[in-house]
């Protein structure tokens, strides 16, 4: 194997307002290797890849990129693509109603001298590329007719059409089944051997990482922890997990005395299918419960099905063909739409407050009242404006929302204060089961502490709280009990005094037990 480094990134530091995403990261990739990157959500993997692919341009970060022996300064994605670096994002960027060939050559159309597109050349070239990635389809087929696995291959064919030398894949197998995953990983090996393509692969599937990558770099909290040579027999999944989570649990969490009461919510045999991809099971046979006065954590990596589980419970706002039973205080209930769920005292605080949680052009007052307007603030359809104002003022004080006035537009508040507005809205709706999806995402340390304090207050009032989070220290710091979710299934239940980050991470990356023969190798290793 060649030992020359195709890429070296030296002391890369990238800060966003208030947050340091990357700090002095060192990262190098050898010519012709497959290099894995592991790390928790928010560890800085995607930010690092965005710097490499020119999404964050030269000057927006500190540090030096040496590509192919020369210092590289990318000013756009086009720049990096011209030097042969292509990134394939987790969310595929294909246009569903265009054909395979059109997608492959989008932005890079095969033109005649007249400037018109040469369709014969396009389709012919596309066929050749498809052959290389092992895709046996008509190049004129619209992309939406193909499954996700094949779409992923089209992305790679597209990369090949750009003469890729360094291919970056962000969670390439997250949406794929075992067979497609195996094909994809095999393809990466083939490309290396036949075309000398170097690959960087971000993945949460540690089995894949250990089986396919030559070396693996672990990131944590925006820093490089170590780069493992995977041929080394110490380079096990356990070692990777330790690297990903090994951080000290400081006193970042307010103390709480837990006082657990009756069972509040129980969910049984819960199954949810993907809303558009037929037959894709997103949540499989989930069982869990939560008691009054208890904080229950859902630990899972991004895409594990945590949000899908929560939203399908909350008025079927996600998925289709949902089956299963929900019991509230022992009684079977139905939550067929959002208002029914709210009537039963269930609240869901979204992970994406700007898109799903708030009306950003409306003021603080009206956002707080929005979930309980007709229930608590209106008589025969008419809103009591004075009462509404009073409620808003109360919550501004009790939740410590920092705003010059409750008439301030919510879009102007900081992330932490926006989150407090969303929480106020749901607390005011009188919910006694609160599902908080990534409640501290994108907010600073001080505001996080305040959110934890609010959670503690809620359970001390006898409410049940479910916290979905991919930050293990957070869950370990605030929960009584933690469920782990991986690939759509609840893979474990641990009480917090017995839970360790390593143990949870193992359950969070645990793949389905019944494995097709092609995956044996991985399991031998692990």
């Amino acid at each position: 194997m060649a030992t020359k480094n195709i890429l070296e990134m030296h002391s890369i530091t990238k800060t966003f307002p208030g947050v340091t995403a990357l700090e002095d990261v060192e990262f190098s990739v050898e010519q012709g290797e497959i290099h894995g990157i592991c790390g928790e959500n928010g560890a800085g993997k995607s930010t690092l890849m965005k710097i490499l692919s020119g999404v964050y341009t030269h000057g927006q970060y500190h540090g030096k990129i040496i590509y192919d022996g020369e210092e590289a300064r990318f000013h756009s994605i086009k720049d990096s693509e011209r030097s042969g670096i292509v990134i394939i994002h987790q969310e595929l960027a294909l246009i569903p109603y265009l054909s395979v060939a059109e997608n492959i050559f989008l932005g890079n159309e095969q033109r005649r001298k007249t400037g018109l597109i040469d369709w014969n050349a396009t389709n012919h070239a596309a066929e050749k590329l498809m052959e290389q990635v092992g895709l046996d389809e008509n190049p004129m087929t619209p992309v939406f007719q193909l499954g996700v696995g094949k779409q992923q291959l089209i992305e790679i064919a597209k990369a090949l059409s750009k003469d890729v030398r360094l291919l970056i894949l962000d969670e390439p197998t997250a949406a794929l089944n075992d067979e497609d995953s195996q094909h994809l990983l095999g393809l990466l090996r083939t490309l290396r051997e036949e075309r000398g393509v170097t690959s960087i692969m971000i993945s949460h599937k540690l089995g894949e990482i250990t089986s396919v990558s030559d070396r693996t770099t672990i990131l944590r909290d925006g820093k490089t922890i170590e780069t493992l040579d995977m041929s080394d027999k110490d380079a096990t999944q356990d070692r990777i997990i330790r690297g990903m989570v090994g951080r000290d649990l400081e006193s970042r969490f307010p103390a709480r005395e837990s006082n657990i009461g009756e069972e509040m919510l129980r969910v049984e045999n819960w199954n949810v299918y993907h809303p558009t991809q037929d037959g894709r099971l997103m949540v499989e046979d989930a069982h869990f419960n939560v008691h009054a006065g208890e904080v229950v954590g859902f630990a899972g990596l991004m895409g594990a099905g945590r949000t899908e589980l929560a939203m399908s419970l909350f008025g079927r706002t996600y998925g289709k063909n949902i089956t299963g039973e929900v019991y509230k205080s022992g009684k079977l209930i139905k939550t067929r739409d959002v208002s029914e769920a709210i009537d039963h005292g269930i609240a869901y605080v979204t992970e994406d407050r700007k898109r799903y949680g708030l009306n950003l052009i409306e003021d603080v007052r009206r956002n707080i009242s929005s979930a309980a307007l007709s229930r608590k603030l209106a008589v025969r359809g008419w809103v009591n404006g004075n009462a509404e104002m009073k409620v808003a003022e109360e919550y501004r004080t009790s939740m410590n929302i920092k705003t010059p006035s409750v008439l301030q537009t919510v879009g102007n508040l900081s992330g932490g204060n926006q989150q407090k507005v969303v929480l106020s809205k749901w607390i005011y709706s009188d919910a006694d089961v609160m599902i908080l999806d990534e409640p501290t995402r994108g907010i600073d340390v001080g505001a996080k502490y305040e959110i934890y304090t609010i959670i503690n207050r809620l359970v001390s009032e006898g409410k049940a709280v479910i916290v979905i989070s991919s930050e293990l220290p957070e869950l370990l710091g605030i929960c009584d009990r933690i469920y782990t979710i991986a690939f759509g299934r609840v893979t474990g239940e641990t009480s917090v005094d017995k839970a360790t980050p390593e143990g949870l991470m193992k359950l969070m990356t645990q793949e389905k037990a019944a494995t097709p023969p092609s995956k044996k190798k991985e399991h031998q290793k692990s």
Binding site: V338, Y348, N359, I361, S370, L373, G381, V383, S414
Partner: protein
Amino acid sequence: MTAIMNLKELLTRNARQSGIYIAFVAIVVFFAILTDGTLLTPGNLTNIVLQYSYILILAIGMVIVIIGGHIDLSVGSLVALSGAVSAVVVVQEGFPWWAGVLAALAVGVIAGAWQGFWVAFVGIPAFITSLAGMLLFRGLTLLVLDNISLSPFPSAYSEIAAGFQNGLLGGSGYDVFTLVIFAIAVVGYTFNAWRSRQGRIAYQQSVEAIGLFIARIVVVGVVVMAFGWQLANSRGLPNVLIILAVLIIAYTLITTRSVFGRHVYALGGNLTAAMLSGVKVRWVNFGIMLNMGVLASVAGIVYSSRSNGAQPAAGEMFELDAIAACFIGGAAVTGGVGRVTGAMVGGLIMAVMSNGMQLMGIDQSVQQVVKGLVLLLAVAFDVYNKRRAGASAGAVGNR
């Protein structure tokens, strides 16, 4: 702490809303000068009210549609259809005037429910649904009228829009009743403004300085009473103005105080967030379209009454005037923003411009050009403002 705002803060803080009122005043003054005062004569003011009342009625419904993030292109055709049905009932079949009114309203309800069904429950964008409705209702109008005009209505029917309340309380040379009504309106406005100011103080919100507050009341009072005086000196209080005033007050309340109104703003501002807050998005959308249908039929009644008959081509391009009124009046193309009062001022800006240009004898073609440019500039101003506000909001968010 109660913050007291001075004039400059007040204007800059809400540039879009104050901008529209300033523009309105400027346009009135501009045309009053160019027409040597003809614009503000009693007869002409009455004319403006009568001529544009149906556009204003449509704009009330349209602004709600636009706040909800939709658009309705069918209202012009619906004006024609409801007028036509009314004419068939009253003129052709000889039923009394109120039967025509009821028939027209029924048309509005059915047409509104029809469009509401497709928009809310089937999920066809309102643009497409109402484009279809525009053709559909126009075609039905032609069918109902058998391609010819029907007229005249009995006088009781034409009184609806062409009649006046005059002489109820006597008065020599001017109508006392009209003045009394306007005086009550000014008192009501003052009382309401005072109450809301006290409310804001009670909740420690910033309010304008007391001098400024009084100045605002005085200016509004003088302008309204002057308008009333002019009407009283002409033919008295037009019935249409009463209908319009009732609708404006009712819909201002609905949009600002009712749960329905608030849900319209919520789903226009962020549809998913509204849905996840328990807003019954489908029923709200249905209600929006239903309401538009009803208001279009009210406009149809007023229009047929004023023109004293039903014509196959009635109401053409009304939808565009109503939509323009909303956007000039500060509604946002993306939904979630807009006010009934804004749409009314937007409509009046268009009314005064058209009327002014007509008085000056300016060619129809030039009028169209000017109206088009005004619409474009108003929205451009809106976009510019938002970008500026967005930039500063970003800075706040980064704290």
